[in-house]
Amino acid sequence: MSGKTLYDKLWDSHLVKQRDDGSALIYIDRQLLHEVTSPQAFDGLRLAKRNPWRIDANLATPDHNVPTTDRSSGVDGIADPVSRIQVKTLDENCDEFGIVEFKMLDHRQGIVHVVGPEQGATLPGMTVVCGDSHTSTHGAFGALAHGIGTSEVEHVLATQCLVQKKMKNMLIRVNGSVGPGVTAKDIVLAIIGKIGTAGGTGYAVEFAGQGISDLSMEGRMTLCNMAIEAGARAGMVAVDQTTIDYVKGRTYAPKGELWEKAVAAWSDLHSDADAKFDAIVELNGADIKPQVTWGTSPEMVTSVDGTVPNPAREHDAVKKEAIERALVYMGLTPDMAITDIKLDRVFIGSCTNSRIEDLRAAAEVVKGRKVAATLKQALVVPGSGLVKAQAEQEGLDKIFVEAGLEWREPGCSMCLAMNADKLGQGEHCASTSNRNFEGRQGFGGRTHLVSPAMAAAAAIAGHFVDVREFLSGDAN
């Protein structure tokens, strides 16, 4: 018998009941809640007169609709009445059911996928869900984590379980280390460029290899965050010393004797050497360069030294049409150099890249430089109140402001533009978020996904540049 994959182990340890029809009841250890996908779930509970199964498994925080500017008038000060009602509804629901919530003015508030790990609410070996597709982020901890819809949010609240079918196993291995200036964001974009946005559909993906184990926890979170952009509901990385060091001492992490016991249990959270995967994808770390998306899907990506594709060279009719459509929407011409794309705005933030390390990387690039005069706006939005405080303690906020970037309050912000931060029609944005779909960052807005360092370099230059030139100091 062959060994087990990490996913097999996580599945087996959470199996409550295998049903004859192939479906299974899987136990959920942690549910994170935010204001957009939970109101209808709480309503459903009330309608059916059901109570949450386990209050202490849930943690909530508002993130999508919160303003990132002045918050001195609290929730009542949210200008958009519809957003305000949604944030208030989360507060009321959490109060009514006794669920712990970091409310908008709490210093721990932030994007759920930043807050969960930061608080130790996400632990190795857990099953983690949230009504948000980027829940895959938490797989960085050797956890089984995926996004669910609102009906399932209600299902988990009411039963602490989900009805699931086991997915297939995929291994994505990055052999060897990546070069300087190449980050987790570039690795995951390169992976999506290779396998496509549906490449991981139906799979639980494990990321492994030197290029992955070299990454910090922040980097692993960036990587797993975008597993969903490769079509995989869940992405994960095996537990190692980096994981343990990150978790230790966090608010909701076990302490003392329990900690020792937990660490011992977590040592098994990796795929066995003889585990069988249904699919294996390999990349060479050394081949990965800083990435930039040019189109309207994350798979429409190339290296910063590349060019916008020419549909005339595409033989597949469906792909050709997709490229043509994307080029019209993005206002780009075939064969133009990526570095010739001029930018209107820059956004550094989102659950993909708003952690302290991301902000440090961006600050390092802009330090002592000035944002290009042609830029309308460059925003830095920390992922949580604690990230913000840490950055301010390190003086990063001053570096940003001196360089001409805006320093904001934590939230999703321009990642999906549900609050007041958005792109205008036709504007190009270098964004550290995860989706470049049409209209994602504002009606008619044009998003280019990049790493924080690449976004920072683009802010200085006013167009894309290879950040590696910046880091070596020979940029103009």
Partner: protein, 217 residues
Amino acid sequence: MKAFTTLKGIVAPMDRANVDTDMIIPKQFLKSIKRTGFGKNLFDELRYLDEGQPDQDCANRPLNENFVLNQSRYQGSNILLARQNFGCGSSREHAPWALDDYGFRCVIAPSYADIFFNNCFKNGILPVILSESDVDLLFKETFATEGYQLEVRLAEQKVVTPDGKEFGFEVDAFRKHCLLNGLDDIGLTLEDADAIKAYEVSRRQEAPWLFDAIQAS
């Protein structure tokens, strides 16, 4: 949940791959705390020429006449024919809510994004998977014949064309059972409450740190 047994109706062709959930229902409409009323904003950015706002009366908005749902021949359609990777992107259940509210009870496509696919079943919508070539053929027939209708029979797992061609499809047994009978998943899971409790007791022994975790401080 509404039961789904047999559905016969007009087919609307959505001829583009990778239709994402932002396209199905743009984010400004996710601010609603209700489950209904999303139909008028289904495919909002494709359907109208201006930028839609929540709670807006859509009757006077400028329509994109070229968009398929605005063409008279597809009015009253309840089956959406689509291309590969339909519903990719976010987990928002507002996407199936919008499809349902508009009147679509069935989508036919060669493949779907996982979360969207799952969300459909929770809302009484049947996402049928047919091969690329079968879907191609259905697109051709839909374009060729005004008022083209299909019949979708869940019990027999078949899609039937007007001239009697039949296409079989696979569907998970549990999901089929729930759809056919309009069953509430939560009620079904709670029938296993004892198994869940037994799991918790043994898991608490093994991994006590997973319990009593999140407490107000």
